[in-house]
């Protein structure tokens, strides 16, 4: 088991800066997921850790050893690629054994390791086949097997499930999680899929345009998003935002002339002058009587998903689009007026300009 640390990582391709200073300490055996929208620099960061690209500024350490100038093979890492990148002309056995052969490992040791990995991944009957005779999920497992046999210090994944169909993706996600529990190899996993990220991660690095937007456990990131970007990106359907004004010495926020929401405890007295945005997750709206209503919505489209119902509508007062998620199957017509309450501790307050979390 190994640690790794990223210290002030910056990367430019020519004049274009892609990463603007990433810092993170990765603990022994930790499963880190790098999450962010497409093009935010996730793959670039992973490729810097792997040594496939050169760092412009900063230091990467694996087990306290600086690896900035080492070739990928010398860093003791293994990587699963998005397209699997299996050698098409080699048998599955040779695909897994190739890295070991180059390291001049003995024949018996290679055999032992490959068979062991094949056993774990249920690939034993396929060892003689060529990659093109395998299904997508099997190829995916071979790609992981190729990494396991190396017994690397660091396991890197670049969107390994994005080429699989939905059902297989769920299954492989579970297998990756199990594999990690069993082998406990420190891992860095890149994805743009938040469900993958939430289920696999011990800790998440949420990235936005080459910056780290937040680093934290999945629950942390969900419950206390550090800024409006993370708040909007994590959670599905996305969080609802509205402009608001702090009042009553910071103990409540006014969201329209007639509507206000109370904040928990003393509220935010020190930010009384700031322009703020309030964020409320769709699943935190509680339906109530008209008398007790804090927010009223006029429904527009109602989507019944079975396990829950999504209500898309507009606030009655100032016509802001909102999405509400209610448990079970609910029947509403369009243009119904619905009344909701919101628990004070489920309200997220962000500064308008910077988007930073205030509460």
């Amino acid at each position: 088991m190994s640690t790794a640390s990223l210290e002030g990582i910056k990367k430019s391709f020519g004049d274009v800066q892609v990463l603007h200073g990433i810092d993170c300490k990765i603990q022994e055996g930790e499963f880190i997921v790098i999450l962010g929208p497409s093009g935010c620099g996730k793959s670039t960061l992973l490729r810097l850790i792997a040594g496939l690209e050169k760092i412009t500024v900063g230091t990467i350490k694996i087990d306290d050893r600086e690896v900035n100038n080492l070739e990928p093979a010398e860093r003791d890492i293994a990587m699963v690629f998005q397209t699997y990148a299996l050698y098409p002309h080699m048998s599955i056995f040779n695909n897994m054994a190739y890295g070991l052969k180059i390291r001049k490992m003995s024949k018996e040791e290679i055999k032992k390791r490959v068979y062991n990995a094949a056993e774990i991944l249920e690939l034993t009957p396929l060892l003689k086949r060529k990659p093109k005779e395998l299904s997508g999920g099997q190829r995916q497992r071979v790609a992981m097997g190729r990494c396991i046999v190396r017994e690397p210090k660091l396991f890197l994944f670049d969107e390994p499930l994005s080429n699989l169909d939905a059902k297989l993706r769920v299954q492989m996600r579970l297998e990756i999680r199990k594999l990690h529990q069993r082998l406990n190899i420190t891992s860095v996993y890149v994805t743009h899929d938040q469900v993958e990220a939430m289920t696999l991660a011990d800790r998440l690095i949420v990235m936005d345009k080459g910056f780290t937007a937040q680093i934290g456990s999945p629950l942390d990131v969900y419950e206390r998003p550090a800024n409006t970007f993370v708040a909007g990106f994590i959670g599905s359907p996305a969080m609802n935002f509205m402009d608001a004004k702090l009042e009553n010495n910071g103990r409540s926020i006014r969201i329209s002339e007639k509507e206000y929401l109370e904040l928990p405890g003393k509220g935010l007295p020190e930010h009384i002058d700031n322009k703020v945005r309030a964020g409320i997750r769709p699943e935190h709206f509680v339906i109530c009587d008209a008398k007790e209503a804090q927010i009223k919505l006029k429904t527009d489209v109602v989507e019944k998903l079975g396990a829950d119902t999504l209500v898309h509508g507009f606030t009655l007062e100032n016509n802001i689009a909102m999405t509400v998620s209610l448990d079970g199957i609910q029947h509403f017509d369009a243009d119904t007026i619905l009344s909701f309450r919101i628990q004070p501790d489920k309200i997220h307050i962000f500064e308008s300009e910077s988007g930073k979390r205030l509460n």
Binding site: A50, L52, E71, P72, A73, I77, A78, M79, F81, Q82, T83, A85, L86, Y87, P88, H89, Y98, G99, I102, R103, R146
Partner: protein, 281 residues
């Protein structure tokens, strides 16, 4: 466009068979002539069925120096074989390596070099033959096998072909090899070359025949009969001036000259067709 009509299939087959007959007939006549004595070949009309002197003619061609050439067909076949193999393997090796450099390495003026090779070598052998002769002569390689082979082994076409093929190989494969610890040399030998094997086979067939059929270049640089290739030899057998052309030996030599290319095509046909039609990825 598959029509299942009897008359159509009859017609198409007839045309095909006719085409084959037209193609095969001269070869058949050559074969017949190679089994007869000179006199019966020159009889008019020449008989169209094989004669009795097959073994005698072929042995004579293979073993003894013929009257007009002074070297055996066996030696000439060996020369042709060395030249064709040398050209085919040389071209493949060089163009594989050149394409590897162009696709996987970043060096200054890379594109300029690529287009230079491409443009200069699009000129056929005949155009650059005088300067090439000059160079080979100065290097003292007239009347050597190396001299026969070397000027012909650079290949823009093959370089281009391999370059295009390498460019379709996903970059992640190269990166996977790097992570596995394969350096540039091992990546080339262990991964790129085996992945190109169908293209290599297809090119080998084409280039072998190209080498086998070279005429002008060997004609220029071989004055020593010991280095004559098949084509030169056959041509020489016809240039006897006053004397009688040994048609039976010429024809036997011709048949012998056809055998190696045919063998290469038939033997490598499977790989050849695969190489032209499918890419392995």
């Amino acid at each position: 466009m598959i029509h299942n009509r009897p008359w159509l299939s009859f017609l198409t087959h007839s045309i095909l068979i006719l085409g084959i007959l037209i193609l095969v007939f001269p070869i058949y006549v050559t074969f017949v002539a190679s089994t007869r004595s000179v006199d019966s070949i020159l009889a008019s009309p020449m008989p169209l069925w094989p004669g009795m002197e097959l073994v005698k003619n072929y042995l004579a061609a293979l073993a003894g120096p013929s009257k007009s050439v002074g070297v055996s067909v066996g030696q000439m076949m060996l020369n042709s074989l060395i030249m064709a193999l040398g050209i085919a393997l040389g071209k493949i090796t060089i163009s594989l390596m050149a394409a590897y450099a162009f696709v996987y390495f970043n060096f200054r003026f890379r594109n300029l070099f690529f287009w230079m090779i491409f443009v200069t070598l699009m000129l056929p052998v005949e155009v650059r033959i005088l300067p090439t002769y000059e160079v080979v002569a100065k290097l003292g390689m007239l009347n050597t096998h190396v001299g026969l082979i070397l000027p012909l082994i650079a290949s823009a076409t093959a370089t281009f072909l391999f370059r295009q093929f390498f460019m379709t190989i996903p970059n992640e494969l190269c990166e996977a090899a790097r992570v596995d610890g394969a350096g540039p040399y091992r990546f080339f030998i262990d991964i790129l070359v085996p992945m190109s094997r169908t293209s290599i086979a297809a090119l080998f067939v084409i280039l072998f025949i190209y080498g086998w059929n070279q005429y002008l270049w060997p004609l220029l640089i071989t004055t020593d009969e010991g280095y004559y290739t098949m084509l030169i030899g056959i041509k020489r057998m016809l240039d006897v001036g006053e004397g009688q052309i040994e048609w039976n030996l010429v024809m036997a030599s011709t048949i012998l000259a056809i055998i190696p290319p045919v063998f290469v095509v038939v033997y490598m046909q499977n790989l050849f067709v695969k190489g032209l039609t499918e890419t392995e990825k």
